[in-house]
């Protein structure tokens, strides 16, 4: 299984730069996810790898082979499209086998591979149907089978689950992950859904405005986001951000903002304390909420005083939306006893997990 290398790859349309100096090594057999919002360049990068878009600058190599100028048909890659791209006038069997038939592979070999893919993806009963007779999930599997059957060097996935409903998406995520692990084919997977990215990727590349924000394992992105964008992008529900100032108080570092006053762990602070405005970042799941009995004061033990705006009960976990001063924040808790709307609460932030950002870059040490 080969590795894939992007070297100084850029893509421009006239005056607009869509991808800027993209450098990445995809390891053999790894499932690498490109994630980002629309306009981040993730799909363009995938399409350049496929050969569907021309590379303005830079080189793409599959193993040692420079494929930058090669047509898609000469790259030996296979792609699964967002709308599946199945041939509407052909049966499932014909869809699966067309690539091999075009290359004049022996008929017995074609039959063997089609059967193998059909077995693995449970497509047996559907082989003689046409795409329009299949459900979304089934079409999705045929698209994957079509890619598998060619035994290509690289699998490319272009937001394959976007057109499926939530339940099916979760199921297919598991199937795709399992399939990739069995086949060990190097895979580049594009999605805008960070849950997909976190669960599927061996490594994730977060993209914004055509530039890499961060590359790393899912847990690295979660624990040590390199900037505010990645911190806010990875993790559901998203991280809370509060803008404020730092001050030295009581021998320690204090973060102050309207309604949010919090002591930072000095061990995690940078050597030079930032003088200007900073942003505090804290994940909803790194907060504890104490429901206050009416009358007792907040901020008893260094927490943040909040007034509840909305409580969403999701079963085991609950999301508590509250106002701390002017700031709206969200805490994700597992409390049995939940406050009601309008109640006063005391919210304790986990100082081990709180982040500090200056000019969008993280300055606190990894948590």
């Amino acid at each position: 299984m080969p590795s894939v290398h992007f070297e100084h790859v850029s893509k421009r349309f006239g005056a607009t730069t869509v991808v800027e100096d993209f450098n990445l090594d995809v390891a053999e057999g790894e499932l690498l996810v490109l994630v980002g919002g629309s306009g981040s360049g993730k799909t363009t990068i995938l399409r350049m790898l496929a050969g569907l878009e021309e590379v303005t600058e830079g080189t793409i190599r599959i193993d040692e082979r420079d494929v930058t100028a090669l047509a898609p048909r000469d790259r030996d890659v296979a792609m699964v499209f967002q709308d599946y791209g199945l041939y509407p006038h052909m049966t499932v069997r014909e869809n699966l086998s067309l690539g091999l038939r075009l290359r004049k592979v022996a008929r017995t070999e074609i039959e063997r591979r089609v059967k193998w893919a059909a077995d693995m993806l449970r497509l047996e009963p559907l082989l003689d149907r046409k795409p329009k007779q299949l459900s979304g999930g089934q079409q999705q599997r045929v698209a994957m089978g079509r890619a598998m059957v060619r035994e290509p060097l690289v699998f490319l996935f272009d937001e394959p689950l976007s057109n499926l409903d939530a339940g099916l998406r979760a199921q297919m995520r598991i199937e795709i992950g399992g399939l990739q692990r069995r086949l060990k084919t190097t895979t580049v997977y594009v999605t805008h859904d960070q849950v997909e990215a976190m669960t599927l990727g061996d490594r994730i590349v977060v993209l914004a405005d055509g530039r890499i924000q961060q590359v790393g394992k899912p847990i690295e992105l979660y624990r040590a986001p390199v900037n505010r964008f990645v911190a806010g992008f990875v993790g559901t529900p998203p991280m809370n951000f509060v803008d404020g100032l730092l001050a030295s108080e009581n021998g320690g570092v204090q973060f102050n903002a309207d309604g949010v006053n919090f002591e930072m762990l000095s061990s995690r602070m940078p050597a030079a304390m930032p003088a200007g405005p900073v942003t505090l970042g804290i994940r909803p799941e790194d907060m504890e909420v104490d429901v206050l009995d009416s009358g007792s004061a907040a901020s008893a033990s260094g927490g943040v005083a909040g007034r509840v705006v909305l409580v969403e009960r999701l079963g085991g976990t609950s999301h508590i939306h509250f106002d701390a001063g002017q700031t709206r924040m969200l805490a994700s808790v597992t409390n049995e006893r939940l406050p009601g709307v309008g109640d006063a609460i005391n919210v304790r932030l986990n100082s081990e997990r709180a982040h500090l950002f200056v000019d969008d870059r993280r300055v606190s040490s990894a948590s």
């Binding site: 791209g85 067309l98 690539g99």
Partner: protein, 277 residues
């Protein structure tokens, strides 16, 4: 509110259709009273060599016109189906002959095909070939008309094919490229099969049009040479206008309708089955 229309249909649609069937059994010259003729008209038609000559001519016409029409419309549509500078200009150019009157086109091409002073022979002579008597040679006359009709109508069918090409999903085109298809393979396995509905439409409309050929032979050759360009409708017109044989003309009309109906029916079956969608 719809009453006037209903009345109109009765007078100008229902009545003529029914009366046509009645006329088949009459002999009438519009001046004297009609005479009941039984199956005479039909018998005459069955043995009328001029009528069957016209039918044969139409098939000669179609055998050239249909493949030419499909191929040229398809090629032009494929060429136009991409981001191009001046795209609407090309499209407008191809479509121009469609909006021009058939009579004008026929007169124009009579002159283009003229043996001595025509443009086409002028060009041929210029490049060293000998002139061809396009419209006076029995074997070239109908093909010449077929080429002209193809030229006139191709723009219309280009639009139809262009519309069909829009419906081919981009991901299918990209998928087949990634799967290893050469441009020819892409055309053969993806584009052409997915254009089947349009092709059926092109063939059907062109066929109907071919059977209804009138102004072209009327203007260009008068039906000759040796009756080789005599069309069915031309014969119908002659019977009505020149010979005053209303009953017989109507019979030709009915026969034509039946022929068109059956040919189109067979065509749809044959093409439709060739690649059942």
């Amino acid at each position: 509110m719809a009453a006037p229309y209903a009345a109109f249909l009765l007078v100008f649609a229902a009545y003529p259709i029914l009366f046509a069937l009645v006329l088949v059994f009459l002999k009438w010259d519009l001046v004297t009273t009609p005479v009941f003729a039984g199956a005479d008209n039909m018998r005459m038609l069955a043995t009328d060599s001029r009528f069957w000559r016209a039918v044969a001519n139409t098939f000669v016409f179609l055998s050239i016109h249909l493949p030419l029409q499909v191929a040229s419309a398809l090629m032009l549509a494929l060429a136009l189906n991409r981001p191009l500078a001046f795209r609407s200009f090309w499209r407008a150019a191809f479509f121009l002959p469609v909006v021009i009157s058939g009579a004008v086109v026929a007169i124009l091409w009579s002159n283009l095909y003229a043996t001595d002073v025509g443009l086409i022979n002028g060009v041929l002579v210029r490049i060293g070939l000998s002139p061809v008597p396009w419209l006076t040679n029995p074997s070239t006359a109908m093909p010449a008309i077929a080429a002209m009709v193809t030229w006139k109508n191709v723009g219309f069918y280009v639009i139809i094919y262009l519309a069909g090409l829009q419906y081919i999903p981009r991901s299918c085109k990209e998928a087949i490229e990634i799967e290893g298809a050469t441009p020819w393979q892409r055309f053969r396995y993806l584009t052409l099969p997915l254009l089947l509905p349009q092709t059926i439409l092109v063939v059907t409309l062109s066929t109907i049009n071919g059977f209804q050929l009138f102004i072209e032979p009327y203007v260009m050759t008068g039906g000759g040479p040796l009756r080789r360009t005599y069309s069915i409708v031309l014969y119908l017109y002659t019977n009505a206008f020149a010979y005053q044989k209303m009953g017989y003309a109507a019979t030709i009309g009915v026969a034509l309708a039946l022929i068109i109906g059956s040919v189109v029916f067979i065509q749809r079956r044959v093409i439709g089955n060739a690649e059942a969608l």
